[in-house]
Symmetry: C2
């Protein structure tokens, strides 16, 4: 019989107090908010959110959507609108939580379209200038009357630009999340000062919910739709597509961005003439999106650890990311982290079966692995140029007591390409949440 440990208990208030900001800096020209409209059964939890561009009617938008073959109705509708408008003149986002409007047939498509229609109408938008998102239970039609009744109420009485409005908006898109996820940031490009605000919700799925990865961020910088789409794709690859909570990809995953130009300055395009401003903005947005995405990992179901997989000196970014992802998604690695076990064999094994591009992508005798503590103390070598180290188990155990850890893999290929990936451990509580929820 195996040793049995007590389940970790989630400290909701603790997480909330550590990861939810008490104040924020917010971009100009936006109004947001959230209310309870009746999708969630408890009669009080916020379940409807709107973000509105209040600076004219000509904001740029961009989106990255799930590649799952079973795309929920709101994903299909939002993709279509974004394409029709070429990303220009998208002025609001409308989101409900509690029901994902997924696998809901033609009625589901009509409901998603109606959410757009009513939102555009009450916000005096031109037709088809809202994007719609849903998250929650799949396979049931939306209580559409409650939502369509809630939209005018929310739009007329509950939108604003205070910190509390943003917190309400972030809370209203949550399902099984234990805290609302909100990040804000102010930065300069040349003489211009811009602001980013973003929010997202978690990726775990709790039966019968299929919780979704939803995220959106907005800025008052002036950006063309095509530049925004390109930056968003680049940033999502390095943030929301570089996290793994359980490796599953939902029917509703959506990340969208909006830029309204309310803070003025020269328009940022992806042409060579504004390469420097473009590059500055991209760097800011990548870092910002990573901050947002990391909150999803922090709130991973049953997570007790926050692990950065850092792959260095790969032949290509694709190789680096593929290897990082392989480690981050290994159940054996994730349970070892939960067990505070410096098991380099599992890391090496996951490197060895990663889907890489060339025979020289992984050279065993050039591969090194180490643990890097985030407290600035010395790193611990596990494997150096393919040779196992005599690991100081006491030091390993000390490092693994911490919540945060960096696992650094150096491939030594001289390709110089790096990738970071974020993951959590696989705990008893994960099994409890996902296996026993309904029993």
């Amino acid at each position: 019989m195996h040793k049995v440990t007590k389940f970790a208990i989630r400290h909701l208030s603790d997480k909330a107090s550590r990861f939810v900001p008490k104040a924020g800096v917010y971009p100009k020209g936006y109004a947001v908010g959230g209310i309870h409209c009746g999708v969630k059964k408890d009669g009080k939890s916020l379940d409807l959110a709107i973000l509105q561009n209040t600076f004219g009617k000509n904001a740029s938008a961009a989106g990255v959507f799930t590649v799952n073959k079973f795309k929920a109705a709101p994903v299909q509708v939002s993709k279509k609108i974004l394409k029709e408008k070429s990303g220009l003149g998208i002025n609001s986002f409308v989101i409900n939580s509690g029901n994902a409007n997924a696998v809901t047939g033609t009625q589901g498509m009509r409901d998603a379209e109606d959410m757009v229609l009513v939102t555009d109408s009450v916000l005096d938008n031109p037709t088809n200038s809202s994007l719609v998102m849903s998250t929650g239970v799949i396979g049931n039609n939306l209580p559409i009357d409650k939502i369509l009744g809630g939209i005018p109420k929310l739009a007329s009485q509950h939108l604003g630009n205070t910190h509390q409005h943003w917190i309400d908006c972030a809370t209203a898109i949550c399902t099984t999340d234990t805290f609302p996820k909100l990040v804000t940031k102010r930065f300069s490009i040349g003489d211009d000062t811009y602001t980013l605000a973003g929010l997202c919700k978690g990726a775990g799925m709790i039966c019968p919910n299929m919780a979704t990865l939803l995220g959106f961020f907005v800025t008052d910088a002036p950006v063309t739709p095509s530049a925004l789409q390109q930056i968003l794709k680049y940033a999502v690859d390095r943030s929301f597509n570089s996290i793994s909570v359980d490796g599953d990809m939902s029917t509703n995953d959506t990340i969208v961005a909006m830029a309204n130009g309310a803070a003025g300055g020269e328009v940022i395009d992806n042409t060579s003439s504004c390469a420097e401003r473009y590059s500055r903005l991209q760097t800011e947005i990548v870092g910002f999106a990573q901050q947002l995405a990391q909150l999803v990992v922090r709130d991973g179901e049953g997570a007790t650890k926050f692990i950065t997989i850092r792959v260095k000196d790969a032949l290509s970014y694709k190789d680096a990311k593929s290897i990082a992802s392989s480690i981050a998604n290994s159940s054996l690695f994730k349970t070892a982290m939960y067990g505070k076990d410096a098991n380099w064999g599992r890391i090496l094994c996951a490197i060895g079966y990663a889907n890489v591009t060339s025979a020289n992508s992984v050279i065993p005798e050039k591969t090194s692995v180490k643990f890097v503590p985030v407290d600035g103390s010395d790193h611990l070598n596990l494997l150096v140029n393919g040779e196992p180290e005599q690991v100081d188990e006491e030091r390993a155990s000390e490092i693994l007591q911490n919540e945060d850890l960096i696992v650094e893999v150096n491939l030594g290929t001289n390709g110089g390409q790096n990738a970071d990936f974020w993951t959590c451990d696989l705990s008893h509580e994960y099994v409890t949440i996902n296996g026993d929820y309904r029993s």
Copy 2:
């Protein structure tokens, strides 16, 4: 706080009594056995096995090896010998358990070569006519003197062809397995009667062990090396490469086969003139390899369920297998099975993100999913042509009480290609074994 359930306790004796045969039919011309030579620390567990062809010195052999970049020394040595000999004149297998001889540098290569050398010598084989396998802890050099001392003792005193010899051989390759895995089968091709005997060991990894998937089977049918290699590859794709315990692939995974022709009859080649006999043999070997591979799933770490994922009517076998694998490897699906939860959303989600070959590989409105109980009672539809069914939860719960279950996905593409995949659930005990083992 979430509901906490008691851990399942592994019923070792129960599994052993259900899955270990009390007798077997064995092929002609082989001698096998296992002893304790001192690799395992307890001073008694069997840890060295030999299989010897006693019908001449000209048996055919074939092998399928791990594609992990970190290939253990015995994998490299066996691949090399098999290639050099073109699969002809391989007369024995030598296997140690307790130490994987992986990530062991040049000393590891020498040790693996010495195991071949000594085995060939004591069995009066020509040079390089043995294949070598190792399984167990990685990163430590073999206690090679104990092994090289054990080989002559085993070869001279402990080889034979009784049921007990085969059980000893199967036991001697085990590491964290809870029962030895042995299957035998007699079949006819035309007027000729042939016999297959095979054994394997489990795929789970328990820290600090990196347990390996090892398997080998032998027959007294006369088969050319090239036909045997082709059949082995085909059979392994549909058996050992169609199981998932935790999705990880080790540094040592090896499946080999030998055919000595001791039972006589016309030689089976992969030429058109013996297509019928080839096809008959292939069918027998596929079914046989599936029986063997399924024992690994039965013994999966912490497994409480044995689940067959059956994908029907795919555009291609590759699609069918990819979709089956995607479901079988989904942590969310596996925890739902552990929780006895008829969560079709997770199945559908895993279908939707499977890596398929064409845009028409998965058509949501043609996809159906059902549970098929193995007791012959009625199946339970979960999704029919993309529409969710009103699931009778009581019936679902009844079906999910059973250890065995078939999850059948019909893709409705009219491609007509099918694949089966076998997996187990993801339980609290899995996390306990893999996370808490050393703590």
